[in-house]
Symmetry: none
DNA sequence: CATGAATGAGTTTTCATTCAT
DNA sequence: AATGAATGAAAACTCATTCAT
């Protein structure tokens, strides 16, 4: 079936082009922000014509939303639960590994940080909803983990919802502060710091 | 001195008008964001003509910056240190009172939250600098308090800088989550939650 | 009649104020041009309120027109004819004196030059008409003098109208070139140059 | 090379469009002046959208400056020197031909006159500089010619600089007076008049 | 009569989007 | 499918003029 083969190749080319524009847009948006970045900036950087852009994306909003979806999905993928089954590694060690892993993933793609923590904040309702959903899921996941921990007697009595907000807030703040710029960081140290803080608090 | 009296009244009227426009702009910006709010929106809501706006403010940026300055100053004013001198109230109680007070202040003016935590984020370099400075001061204050606590043996061994980032992040997240909408909240409960979390952590 | 005396004083005060604003406007317009000079510039320089300005002049155009009228009248006054009656000074000497006198008058008030030769040019139809009339009168005066000179056998055969245009053009160009800036000039030398040129031409 | 051919056609179309807008702007500016002509006037007359204008020109100022550059270049091109080599036509005849030619060129494009002699006068510093340079070059050219004439014994003793100012002034005045409106003129007669005046003066 | 705050029509300019080639 | 010239709605901002005090 030579025709379907050709069609296939065309589809792949289209997909590649599409992703290329998305990649470029990530750079442009993360550097200039949403409003200060123009479609002109994107198409120039991508080396395509204005019209071409609109063959792949419906609007400036649309590409940003898609971008955000990709970012969120990537972030989600780098987050995995803790195995509490017998024979698994000690919980604390698992936590350190997990949190370090997330920080490493974020560290790899700092544009993510800028987009999710700066550019996308307060943009429009749809974006807000997406971020809310993402954070909500994370919070729910954390809260659930805490509840399970409470049942296992590992976590003290507390409002898991509120506690989850605090944990996530601390984490986000560390990311924003230490991974918002271009400085190198010791992700292991940060992960330890966040976990010690969240688990043991600051009292002597 | 009737002349100076009249001049005084005029000056006051001007100041009142100015503040009125600022107040209206606070509403408009907090509801629509910076880019989606036009000067037309502001002047319509204020019931003045376009030109009037420009008699009081140089530009759209200018009024937003001024607004932000006011908000930050207000926030700063609601934050006070903890008295560790002898005869002072127990530190823990003071902390609860302080944090509850801050939450109450923010609760009173929820537009503040939307502006500072959403609208102003990632707007432009000057705004970024202002927020950075504000958060930096807060962090420095917290870090210093932690260091003092360490010397008094109250706070455990840790990187005060990193810990301050976590504390502030947890606090910010709580504000954003619980005071970002229009729901009523129990600020005392939130303050307790944040403090317990920050001081004792979550382990059983 | 104390009342009329008071009224008189008031009238004089009004007149003085009016002239003061005109004087200031002359400075402002000659420096900034018509469009780039704002009413704000004028009232600030005059030390009066905006409303006051409009009590004395109907509009920005109006004050400029009035200004131009004054300037033109002043220029006209510094121009006098040549006495060809018996016993009068030699015509050539009279001409030198007259032209030098005009140049001196203009030299005294260089703002005149800027207003009449730059600012007022191409402003609007009414201004154009005024300048046209002024130049037309001058040309007519010169043409008439030339015709009289022809009858006396002093001036050669030529189209007096066209010749008047040339004479006036040469004069204007000299004023513009040598009195347009702030450099000191030798008006006598300029007058001689213009006259030699106009009377004898440039051929050896 | 079909591609370069298409690109070539596109480039030409762009250039044509650009020139069309310039032509229209020449009309609009020469009729209304710079300040009274709005971009709206230009684009309406050109039959294009607002945005199209800004694809070709950076600003209202920019198109005017470009327009002025074209006009000045055109004027310059219509001016040629006088050939004093042996075997050349008599100088006087050459001068008549040259001056008549310039007047004819100007006659052809009366908008030039209005723009250069009215609209552009006193507009802004850059425009002033351009006109100054143009007139300066002309003056310098005339002054140099006069100096050469003096060396050949054709031109009498005089300040060539001042004489050049007079010659140019006379010429300009004739252009302004006779070619400023829409009346037909006999350029040959005007050229003769200017030359007779400049060379022989008005004395009998 | 003086004041100066208020007005709002009018201007230039931007930029996401469309569409003929 | 790619191009990029054309579009025009919408925005910020100015400033001559008015009018209540």
């Amino acid at each position: 079936m030579p025709e379907s083969a050709r069609a296939e190749r065309a589809r792949e080319a289209r997909e590649a082009r599409r992703q290329q524009i998305l990649d470029v847009a990530l750079d442009v948006f993360s550097e200039k922000g949403f409003h200060d970045a123009s479609i002109t900036d994107v198409v120039k950087a991508a080396g395509v014509a204005r019209g071409t852009f609109y063959q792949y994306f419906d609007s400036k909003q649309a590409i940003f939303h898609e971008l955000l979806d990709q970012l969120i999905e990537n972030l989600r993928d780098s987050i995995v639960g803790v195995d509490v089954s017998e024979g698994a590694a000690p919980v604390r060690q698992q936590l350190v590994t997990t949190v370090t892993g997330i920080l490493d993933a974020v560290d790899q793609q700092r544009q993510f940080v800028r987009i999710v923590l700066r550019v996308a904040v307060g943009l429009d309702e749809e974006v807000d909803a997406k971020l809310s959903e993402f954070y909500g899921n994370l919070r729910a996941f954390i809260a659930m983990s805490l509840r399970r921990g409470q049942m296992l007697g590992l976590i003290r009595e507390c409002d898991p919802q509120l506690a989850a907000v605090c944990v996530l807030g601390a984490f986000r703040a560390v990311v924003e502060e230490y991974l918002g710029g271009d400085d190198k960081v010791d992700t292991h140290r940060l992960a330890l710091g966040i976990l010690e803080f969240s688990l043991k608090g600051l009292l002597a």
